[in-house]
Symmetry: C2
Subunit: 587 residues, 2 copies
């Protein structure tokens, strides 16, 4: 048995035999599985790329040689081998490391990466820099088959092959994206796997790469041989490694989509340890869309590789049939395809994470807004408290979407309003409309909403008061509603407004407010800079109305605590009440 | 001789023989050349795709069949054949049509398109919509070889091949992007051209397309045969058409880069009719970068397919050697590669149009900002008065870039400040820095600037006055400077501030202004929503300072008049002076 605590850097595995390395793999897998089962994480990708990670560190000399991992959600083993073993062996230290590469943790980590399809481009830059400064280190990009559907990966491969120097792209092909792959490319990858890499045509060769296939991508000897072979290549080369997602853990091998990312689970059965009874936005979205799809066979839901996020389980996808499209991890295609669909008379709804819609700004602007195609975006994971890794923050979307002319960005405050807005967005054909998930929790109010938002930029006056008006957008509304309720009980009577729209302001209502109000407080679950509140501040700029904008500061926060951040941003009901109270105090 | 005025729709060419169509091509070419020489335009692309356009309209039945043109800068002949002939035959009507497809002009134009790499995605949406609603029309995407370098085109191809129905992608391969092509893909296209389409590997086949090669892409008979053959294909097919850019006009065939887009020229010689003596930003950028590249061999300039825009003529590119990179039309790669380069110790400067940097928001955020890699962006074509097509507006970049945490966005006001900022940006390695071209005209002030901007968000106080402070960013500064000069002569003494930074505010100075000022006017050459002025309005929101923000309204304007727009936005020196004067009037 190998003492994992003795492995402090890749140097500690360099002297091992293939048998010892294989034994090491067994130990690491056991340890990894224990952490995964207790802590959750990207199970499938890490189990599948475990042997290859050992082989990479055995053959290459990181951190002198540079290894860039795409998405970097498969780097747990890399972290174990590069000085961070304790974060995997000792439960008290499980949270010492992030789930992605992180230069703040280690020199072996070159970039903080969390979005897909970037590694080839980044590694290409490292290789080109090396060539300019006359370095001799090797440069390796590791990219999964799923990531190859993203346009940035293609652009990176297209450039990378023009390097006349060492540039090694390891394609970790487990025949899966997060869910199953979609797209013409994947037939070619299948052909290559089925022909032991010898079939034609070969996608990588068309782009100018030398090519090496590894049939047994979880076999240490095969991997080491392949990496040794290309290690000192003086030309760009692709090593196509056929791996098994979830390798070595039967439930993860059998349920590859569920175990791509998993919450804590029971090792013997693979069943989740905790089953939440709480309603989830993914199901609400599905439950809202399903009848619309049944009623109109041209209503079509699109995902860019994350069907689970939007509630489309494998069974529901089968049921939706050709009314469900997975374009692969390709958000640009998600948006542009939707524009073509809308122009062609279909009703496309692209469900996408806030953090990932960033990848399609130009498409939202050019392909959709300029053409006024009635595309619907359902934005998931928006605001505070959804994903909290720095690479997956959900609070830049307001500034991004609402400042594009022509887009209507709706901010529902509760489940019922979310559904009404989504139904209206699908029904109408006048505008591109985005609907923002109001935070992580589902607030069920039982209220009825009219499913009618043609009165663009019309705010909703919820409670009429005087002196102070609170304009609380989306997820912030619940706390504001509670705060205002509390204050009315105290005899303090602020006005409460649900702005409904993030993409414009209700100048009529804002003018009206001037009569009996001296202060407006804006609340939003997004970054203040470029956000909703600033529109109000600008509107009132030359008046005597005082405006206080509350939202998230312009910063990249990593693994923030949502509760604390809400306090800091003064978006809790307590903070909101205090802020309002202070404005009613004698001055 | 064919009477072009009789051609009102494609129906009018359906009965023609191949010989007549060839004669028609001759007439159209002559007419087109006459307009191009007098009016300017995309000469090369239109001359090269002339026969293919006729053949497409001969074989397919638009507008029932749907043809989507990528970039759509090659659609002059399409317009001539679809009811807009007069805009090409009659100089008085030359401006009746835009330079791109435009649904407002004709039902034959499906989308307003101006950015590259989108047509396959949009057409894929049309095809999928057809399949959902049970239509039978044919769907054709026309895409140039240069556009294939863009990731969106790859994503579109990857999805498109999964359609089990009619989907025809015409690849117009003239062996050129705007300048020469770069990237591994182009070796494969060359192989296919050199083998009459028979070589392996074949890029399009790897993505699952049937494939048909047309060797003589300017020969009517070959084109018609090929299009007839695939017309009713029930599977996705690529027709790879080998065309000659600038076909039929010797100077355009010889000088393909210059004639991609040309100003008015003399037909016999091909020489430009007007040679401007005015300084241009492209040359200023080159003149600034060239010494920096000489001094440091790891300083590297990047373009995404538009070397001419940034002053890198073929000769200068040769001189720059490996310190110049053209990644193809692939802005995502431009930014991500730059991040890798910066991380590897090189000093990358990516020169890119305001309208095109939109294509790389996620890369600016994830690949650069989160990693704090000291990438330099030089933003061209920013503000009013540069390109004025709706697809190429240069005024969304402030909201886009300056609201990403970590980016320093600098707004020079004149040539000398631009150079100082660019030199500092390249010299420092602490921040990602973008430098914004200050409008179309070059203002030479002869002033010296310290080449030192480490004091982040420090505004520059240019003229100290009282009551009203004008904060004039970038290109707006000159008019403000003139206005304030005029007002001082009149005895009115506003304060004038150059904010220097677009990405943050100088809270110290803003606080200080409260003492002797009651009004702040912000001026910016960008959209107000999400822009610079709103940050100032928010800052002063809860104070008695009144803030008036001037900038561009959130709208897509097509072929606007820059002078009129400047008036409307009250950004001329006259408007600025009037606005200030009115604030000094007795109230």
């Amino acid at each position: 048995m190998i003492d994992l605590s003795k492995i402090e850097s890749p140097a500690d595995i360099k002297g091992m035999t293939v048998e010892e390395l294989t034994e090491l793999a067994k130990e690491l897998r056991k340890t990894l599985l224990t952490k995964l089962s207790a802590h959750g994480g990207h199970a499938g990708p890490n189990l599948g790329f475990l042997e290859a990670t050992i082989a990479l560190h055995y053959v290459f000399d990181a951190p002198v040689d540079k290894i860039v991992f795409d998405v970097s959600h498969q780097t747990y083993v890399h972290k174990m081998l590069t000085g961070r073993m304790q974060a995997f062996t000792d439960p008290a230290h499980y949270n010492d490391v992030s789930g992605f590469t992180n230069p703040k943790e280690s020199d072996y980590d070159l970039f903080t990466i969390g979005h897909t399809s970037t590694a080839v481009s980044l590694a290409g830059g490292l290789a080109k820099a090396r060539d300019l400064v006359g370095g001799t280190e090797r440069v390796v990009a590791v990219v999964g088959d799923g990531s190859l559907s993203g346009g940035e990966a293609f652009e990176g491969l297209d450039f990378g092959s023009t390097l006349a120097s060492n540039f090694i792209v390891v394609v970790n092909d487990n025949d899966m994206s997060i869910a199953e792959n979609h797209g013409g490319l994947y037939a070619d990858l299948r052909l290559l796997r089925n022909t032991n890499g010898e079939g034609e045509p070969n996608f990588f060769r068309t782009l100018g790469y030398d090519y090496r296939y590894v049939k047994y991508g979880n076999d240490m000897k095969s991997l080491i041989e392949a990496f040794e072979e290309v290690k000192d290549s003086r030309y760009p080369v692709v090593v196509h490694v056929n791996t098994q997602k979830g390798m070595g853990y039967a439930p993860a091998e059998a349920h590859r989509e569920e175990f791509h990312f998993s919450a804590p689970f029971d090792i013997p059965t693979g069943m989740p340890l905790h089953v939440s009874e709480d309603p989830e936005w993914s199901d609400i979205f599905y439950d809202t869309m399903q009848p619309l799809m049944s009623q109109n066979s041209s209503t079509v839901v699109i995902t860019a590789g994350t069907p689970g996020v939007i509630g489309f389980t494998p069974e529901r996808r089968r049921k939706a049939g050709k009314q469900f499209i997975d374009v692969g991890i390709a958000e640009q295609e998600g948006v542009a395809l939707a524009s073509g669909l809308a122009k062609g008379g279909a009703r496309p709804v692209f469900g996408v994470m806030s953090s990932f819609i960033q990848r399609a700004y130009d498409q939202m602007s050019q392909d959709v807004a300029i053409n006024a195609t009635p595309v619907v975006l359902a934005i998931f994971g928006a605001g505070m408290g959804c994903l909290n890794d720095v690479t997956h923050l959900g609070w830049f979307d307001i500034a991004l979407i609402s400042n594009i002319p022509g887009w209507i960005y709706l901010a529902p405050t509760c489940k019922e309003e979310y559904q009404a807005m989504l139904r209206w967005a699908v029904r109408q054909t006048d505008y591109p409309v985005a609907v923002r998930q109001p935070g992580p929790e589902v607030w069920e109010t039982g209220r009825e909403f009219p499913e009618e938002y043609f009165d663009i930029n019309k705010f909703s006056l919820c409670r009429k008061g005087e002196k102070v008006a609170v304009i609380a957008a989306g997820a912030t509304f619940k706390a504001a509603y509670e705060a205002v309720g509390q204050l009315f009980d105290e005899g303090i009577t602020p006005t409460l407004i649900n702005p409904v729209f993030l993409s414009g302001i209700d100048t009529g209502m804002l003018e009206e407010l001037k009569k009996e109000h001296r202060y407006v407080i804006t609340l939003e679950d997004g970054v203040l800079d470029g956000g909703f509140g600033e529109k109000i501040a600008r509107y009132y700029g030359d008046s005597t109305m005082k405006v206080i904008c509350r939202g998230i500061p312009k910063e990249f926060l990593d693994r923030y605590d949502a509760g604390k951040l809400q306090e800091q941003c003064r978006l809790t009901s307590g903070c909101i009440a205090d802020d309002i109270r202070s404005l009613y105090s004698p001055e």
